[in-house]
């Protein structure tokens, strides 16, 4: 990159707002998906919407590609830099701008860490509902870009149900203010369109989100199984019985072992083949009824024990174990590939078994920990990125899992996004016409394809569209 451009950007962002030393840039070469990496030319860390807009204007003029990044905890390569491009991070934009407890919304900067919002509003009897497992690190901007989920999204819905407004800096540095908190958007729902656009429509700098009242009663059950199939079946039964707990999470044996060895040891019994973590919230009578019904179902399916958290501290511990599961897998191998498929909830048992079979065939170590209530599986494959052959087998296993799931009526991603990881697999669920339609929407936001290029839409579709547009 030309020195004058770097200088110009440094003038806008200040010394602390720009990283250009090759050594420091290394740390930005991947996000939570360490499998893929590319060193960016620069990292920009603006503090405000205005700084962000001015920097993007320069990048627009210079035709430089931009990859947005929150905390870099994503698992699909959404924040993997692109060759010759810069990374624009929101890590220094973390102020809470406004809290309105009566109208129940908060306006925050995009780099605010998810859990910090809940901490800021819990005294008011409110919380921010989407709770990705990485909520102690990930940012609300990243959550909006990826339309993140979390265990409690089973009841509350994923991020898109909670984002009311946005301030977006577009590819050319213009600012789109969509921050009026409207429950029912008028005209095209651009906010809805932006959420889940994986950094390809622009950079969100401010977010207005819905706050949810803290439930009167929250109860947590831990059902212990000697058989993973039985745990899956009891979830299918609970769904069929039209029960509405706020979360239904399954952890298998390997995951339990990893978590129990970690600082987040939650007291999951090590001899269990699987545990089902259940949370129910609401008014007391309703909660008790649902709990009784769920206890009956899990016991019928062979749970050998059902424990109820006796205090808020115990409940927190049970959840910390679940949320630390990804990191805890670091005890098994240096790297972890986390798949993110969604399966019909009537087919949990057979598709979980299918993932196990695929991993076994490829001589890979697989653990399953998943949002069972949503049918959102996370087959976790442990590997070592220094072993090229193993890496290739991991990628093939990931692809095969997606094929099997899609063939059974499922989908590619529950919450991690498509990024680069699942890009080619988009063609499994969408025809070229569908993908071209997506591409046209993207063209409207980012005609030069400079915002997070090379992600989400399969390469052949992009190329085809480009060729069609070119005058002959």
């Amino acid at each position: 990159m030309r020195a004058e451009v770097v200088h110009e950007l440094r003038e806008i962002l200040g010394r602390a707002g720009l990283i250009s030393e090759p050594g420091r840039l290394l740390t930005y070469e991947c996000d939570g998906l360490a499998l893929l990496h590319e060193r960016p030319e620069l990292v920009l860390l603006p503090r405000t919407t205005d700084e962000c807009a001015r920097a993007l204007r320069v990048l627009h003029r210079e035709k430089i590609a931009v990859v947005g990044r929150g905390a870099g905890t994503g698992l699909s390569g959404g924040a993997t830099p692109v060759k010759g491009g810069v990374v624009l991070g929101t890590a220094r934009m973390r102020d809470v701008l406004e809290i309105n407890a009566v109208d129940r919304y908060a306006r925050v900067q995009a780099g605010l860490v998810n859990v910090d919002l809940t901490l800021a509003v819990e005294e008011l009897g409110l919380f921010y509902a989407p709770d990705p497992s990485s909520q102690h690190a990930c940012t609300l901007g990243g959550n909006a870009a990826e339309n993140s989920g979390g265990p409690h999204c089973f009841k509350h819905g994923s991020t898109t149900r909670h984002v009311l407004g946005l301030v977006i800096v577009r590819d050319d540095g213009s600012v789109l203010d969509l921050s009026r908190p409207a429950v029912d958007p008028v005209g095209y729902d651009l906010v809805g369109l932006f959420v889940g656009s994986e950094g390809m429509f622009g950079i969100a700098t401010e977010i207005t989100v819905k706050l949810t009242p803290t439930p009167a009663v929250t109860e947590t059950l831990l059902a212990i199984f000697t058989d993973l199939d039985a745990a899956c079946d009891s979830v299918s039964d609970a769904i069929a019985a039209r029960l509405e707990p706020s979360a239904l999470e399954i952890l298998d044996k390997l995951t339990i072992e990893a978590v129990e060895a970690s600082v987040f040891a939650a007291g999951y019994p090590k001899q269990a083949e699987a545990v089902l973590l259940i949370e129910v919230e609401g008014a007391e009578a309703e909660v008790e009824m649902t709990l009784a019904e769920l206890s009956r179902i899990v016991k019928q399916r062979g749970a050998i024990d059902v424990r109820r958290a006796r205090s808020a501290a115990e409940r927190k511990k049970l959840w910390a174990g679940r949320k630390g599961a990804f990191g805890a897998m670091g005890r098994i191998a240096p790297d972890l590939y986390v798949a993110d498929v969604v399966v019909p909830r009537t087919k949990l048992r057979e598709l979980v078994a299918a993932t196990t079979r695929i991993a076994r065939e490829k001589r890979l170590k697989l653990a399953n920990v998943f949002h069972a209530g949503d049918g959102n599986l996370h087959p976790n494959i442990s590997y070592d990125r220094r072993d090229a052959d193993e890496v290739a087998r991991v990628l093939r296993a990931g692809e095969e899992i997606m094929r099997v799931v899609v063939a059974a009526g499922g989908s590619l991603s529950g919450e991690h996004g498509i990024g680069i990881e699942k890009q080619a697999a988009m063609s499994l669920v969408f025809g070229d016409d569908d993908l071209r339609a997506m591409c046209r929407v993207r063209d409207a936001w980012d005609p030069e394809h400079r915002m997070n290029p090379g992600k989400l839409i399969p390469v052949h579709v992009c190329r085809e569209m480009r060729n069609a547009e070119r005058p002959r």
């Binding site: 860390l45 905890t73 970690s262 600082v263 670091g330």
Partner: protein, 425 residues
């Protein structure tokens, strides 16, 4: 030296890059920059080991120096990364390949090889520091002098006298313990050492202090001087072996965390490994020991007179030793009016000699702590480590605050023998 020997390569592989450490890291909180986070630093260490980055790269050293080694990241790392040990070996690797400026090298040699290795030099430098502070001559020392002036006044020689070798139990005898007198603690906070003895003997323990012991080597290790740290570890082990299997009580969180890790530090030393492990098993923090042997009743009235207390977890006690409940329990037992300090497990910015080496960063980290203290409404900040003690005292002084700082031992001494911890002026 091979690149992979410059860092603890095997440990870098434990990191799975999940990012859960980011929010707890004081330097990431300040900068929002990935290379200034635990995950980022591990990424750099791994890059050095794998030959992707030269260990002589200035930014590599910059990021390692910037780290406070508070180990907060360890408390939230699901993969069990032992960052404290990693940063120590990375810093050791760094001194092997990088040449610091002559003055810096001289200062390190003076500090680590002379002052922290001899009681005489230690005491002489404390006297010199006091002289420079009182006469204002510290101003002539530039940046170092400013840091010196910002420190609390070094106490007079009379308060820095070594403890007697043996102190008999003052209550029905329940056993005996060995106590670490420490280096900084003796020179800067002799009153804390005396309060510690008062409490230990007051609850029925004969207390032995090895004469002529100088330093446990924690500061050396934290700064990557691992060979010197091993020397001092061996000397410390030998000094305390004279007291059989008695518990080794320390009132300094940094020393306690370090000494509990001697087994790890000397793991490759066949002659000392087992002695080190045996030693480490005997080490307890003052609060752990007293909580396990607390008297049923303290006289609680005197502690109430101190005002409202709040406890700030020293990093190397909560993150380094997982001791969180005991100090709080003891304060309750002593009848303290106590409020919780928000974010008590966050680093105060002292970090051993970090506050002297990087005063601006140290103060930036402290700012959030001061705000939390002011919001707590407490009059007294209770700590359990000399570095934090000093950081809070200078911080209060700078802010013009009337709040005072007490070590947990001083509060408990007050509860046992009423007049001890009253405000002395």
């Amino acid at each position: 030296m091979q690149p992979a020997e410059l860092v603890d390569y095997a440990k870098t592989l434990d990191c799975i890059h999940c990012g859960l450490c980011l929010r707890t890291c004081p330097t990431y909180r300040l900068t929002g920059a990935e290379p200034s986070s635990p995950r980022g630093r591990i990424y750099l260490m791994r890059a050095v080991a794998e030959g992707q980055l030269e260990a002589s790269d200035a930014t590599y050293r910059g990021e390692l120096d910037f780290c406070l080694a508070c180990r907060h990241c360890e408390s939230v790392c699901p993969a069990g990364v032992r960052f404290g040990e990693m940063i120590e070996s990375a810093r050791a690797g760094l001194s092997a390949v990088q040449h610091r400026p002559v003055l810096a090298r001289l200062a390190r040699w003076f500090g680590f090889e002379l002052v922290l290795r001899s009681r005489w030099w230690l005491s002489a430098s404390a006297s010199a520091m006091r002289f420079a502070q009182r006469t204002g001559m510290a101003r002539l020392l530039g940046r170092w002098g400013e840091a010196l002036l910002a420190m609390p006044l070094v106490p007079p020689r009379s308060e820095r006298a070594p403890l007697a070798a043996t102190h008999g139990a003052r209550a029905p005898r329940r056993g005996s313990v060995a106590m670490l007198e420490g280096c900084a603690m003796r020179e800067l906070y002799g009153r804390v050492n005396r309060a510690t003895v008062q409490v230990l003997t007051g609850i029925g323990f004969d207390t032995h202090v090895p004469a002529e012991h100088v330093c446990c080597g924690a500061l050396h290790a934290h700064n990557g001087e691992l060979d010197a740290a091993r020397d001092l570890a061996r000397a410390t082990i030998a000094a305390f072996e004279a007291f059989g299997d008695d518990a080794i009580v320390t009132n300094s969180a940094g020393c306690g965390a370090h000494m509990k890790g001697y087994g790890q530090l000397l793991r490759d030393d066949a002659r000392w490994r087992e002695r080190a492990q045996r030693f480490s098993r005997r080490v307890v923090d003052f609060s752990e020991f007293v909580a396990a042997h607390a008297p049923t009743a303290f006289s609680t009235g005197a502690v109430r007179e101190l005002g409202t207390l709040t406890y700030d977890d020293p990093c190397h006690l909560c993150h380094g030793q997982q001791v969180r409940a005991q100090p709080r329990t003891l304060l309750e037992l002593a009848g303290a009016r106590r409020v919780e300090l928000a974010d008590a497990e966050a680093c105060c910015g002292s970090a051993g000699i970090y506050s002297l080496l990087r005063p601006a960063d140290s103060r930036a980290v402290f700012e959030g702590k001061l705000a939390a203290f002011e919001a707590s409404g407490a009059d007294v900040l209770v700590t359990a480590n000399p570095g934090c003690h000093m950081q809070w005292e200078s911080g209060f002084k700078r802010a013009g605050s009337r709040a005072r700082v007490l070590h947990l031992a001083e509060v408990l001494a007050c509860a046992l023998d009423a007049p001890a911890a009253r405000r002395d002026g």
